[in-house]
């Protein structure tokens, strides 16, 4: 007599319509749930780990001398190298312009003879005020918070920006009146 290899039988009985799930199914769900949760939590933990709680970056606040150091109508490049900021004294106001081109972030040059800021990377041009008028720059140069401290020194805070297109150049924190 020949005997055949017994047919493969599924060894799981599905829960019938009266029960929600069998014990086996429950542990199946629990197991997969635990596994996926562990992976998910691990991934989230990994992502959170990539953002440290303390950053050691340079202090954004610096002192820029006294208003009398600046000649009226001129753009000073005194703090351009160290702080990437122009100090401009114009029409009774002192402003701090950030020397970062609004196109792709290069450092423009102040061309005094032509009275404009010109970026060497792609040719963006800005007026003495900082308004973009030529080249690919999409918006004017940004201004930074500037104030006088008790000793009469100018104090610039690079962490506070003022954008023309948002009407923020009217904000008194963005200029010092003489």
């Amino acid at each position: 007599m020949s005997s055949t290899i017994p047919e493969s039988q599924t060894l799981i009985k599905k829960g019938d319509e009266r029960n929600l799930w069998t014990r086996r199914e429950f542990f199946g769900f629990a197991g997969w749930g635990a596994f996926l949760s562990a992976i998910g939590l691990g991934l989230m933990g990994f992502l959170r780990m990539l953002f440290p709680r303390v950053l050691f970056e340079p202090i954004p606040i610096f002192q820029a001398g006294k208003p009398s150091d600046y000649v009226d109508g001129e753009v000073s490049e005194k703090y351009k190298e160290e702080q990437r900021v122009w100090i401009e004294r114009n029409a009774g106001k002192i402003i701090a312009i950030q020397a970062i081109c609004t196109h792709l972030g290069c450092t423009p040059r102040w061309l005094g003879l032509e009275s404009k800021f010109k970026c060497p990377c792609h040719g963006s041009g800005f007026t003495k005020e900082g308004i973009n008028f030529e080249g690919p720059a999409p918006r004017p140069l940004e201004r930074l918070a500037i104030r006088l401290n008790d000793e009469g020194d100018l104090v610039v805070d690079k962490s506070k920006k003022f954008l023309y297109e948002k009407g923020q150049w009217e904000d008194p924190d963005s200029f010092v009146v003489l």
Binding site: S2, S3, I5
Partner: protein, 268 residues
């Protein structure tokens, strides 16, 4: 065709009956591995949450802590440094340990004991390994971790570590000790001392040869080993025992060197 030869009517048997003592890896082995792995992961995670890894003061090349200990798994070797010079304790003996370990399968000719636990059938092998591993390696690590304090002096676990503890260590070389004890003044000379030391070492290792000549013919295992293998086993065994022997000589008689060879810069 006869029925028994008709291929379509051949007797079919389940494949599992061919190897009845085998089980599927999935689920049986993988399940066991998974559970053990899970417990290990949970264990190490809880351990890591509860106990912080040490971080001492920043590195200062001008200030050496007292005591200055190697990582715990090397403390057995650092302990050996008390009894042997650095070249021996730090290079030769560790190399011999590694080489000796590698040689084990080639010098163990006993066919018994493969694939199950037994002591009775492998008395020599198990005793030797346990002596080397548990007594020498593990025990010396425990001594180094718990019982050695400032100046590498002995401190009981409950004693406070006193960095100023001074223990008089009047060590004497073996040739001097023999000369003093037995009045053999000719051993005081450098050359005689060296020859004496070398002679002793030669005599020590020749114990292995003597044993072979004495018991070799009668002993089945030694016959199976053959002279080369036996020589290796004897050499490794005697070298391994040299450590506790030297330690005992140091503790009892304050012996420092067995043999001094200053001309090539080595002392044993």
């Amino acid at each position: 065709m006869a029925e028994s030869q008709d291929p379509s009517k051949k007797q079919l048997i389940p494949a599992s009956s061919l190897s009845p003592d085998k089980v599927h890896t999935w689920p049986h082995l993988v399940r066991n591995e998974f559970i053990v792995g899970l417990i290990a992961m949970i264990g190490i995670t809880i351990w890591s949450i509860v106990i912080d890894a040490p971080l001492e003061e920043p590195a200062n090349p001008t200030r050496t802590p007292n005591p200055s200990k190697a990582p715990w798994y090397f403390l057995g070797l650092q302990e050996m440094l008390v009894y042997f010079d650095p070249w021996m304790a730090g290079v030769v003996l560790p190399s011999l340990i590694i080489v000796g370990l590698m040689l084990i399968p080639y010098i163990d000719v006993n066919p018994k004991g493969a694939g199950y636990y037994t002591f009775r059938e492998r008395k020599f092998a198990v005793s030797m390994f346990c002596f080397g591993f548990l007594v020498l390696w593990i025990f010396l690590i425990t001594v180094g971790v718990f019982l050695r304090g400032p100046g590498w002096n002995f401190f009981a676990p409950w004693q406070e570590w006193d960095p100023h503890k001074v223990v008089a260590l009047t060590n004497v070389d073996l040739n001097m000790w023999v000369a003093q004890t037995f009045g053999l003044d000719f051993l005081r000379g450098e050359v005689m001392a060296a020859l004496f030391g070398l002679g002793l070492i030669g005599a020590y290792y020749s114990v292995g040869v003597t044993f072979y000549l004495w018991k070799g013919k009668a002993n089945e295992t030694i016959q199976k080993l053959g002279p080369i293998r036996y020589g290796i086993v004897a050499f490794l065994f005697l070298t391994m025992m040299a450590l506790p022997i030297k330690m005992i000589l140091r503790w009892t008689l304050n012996i420092k060197y067995i043999c001094k060879l200053p001309w090539i810069g080595l002392n044993i």
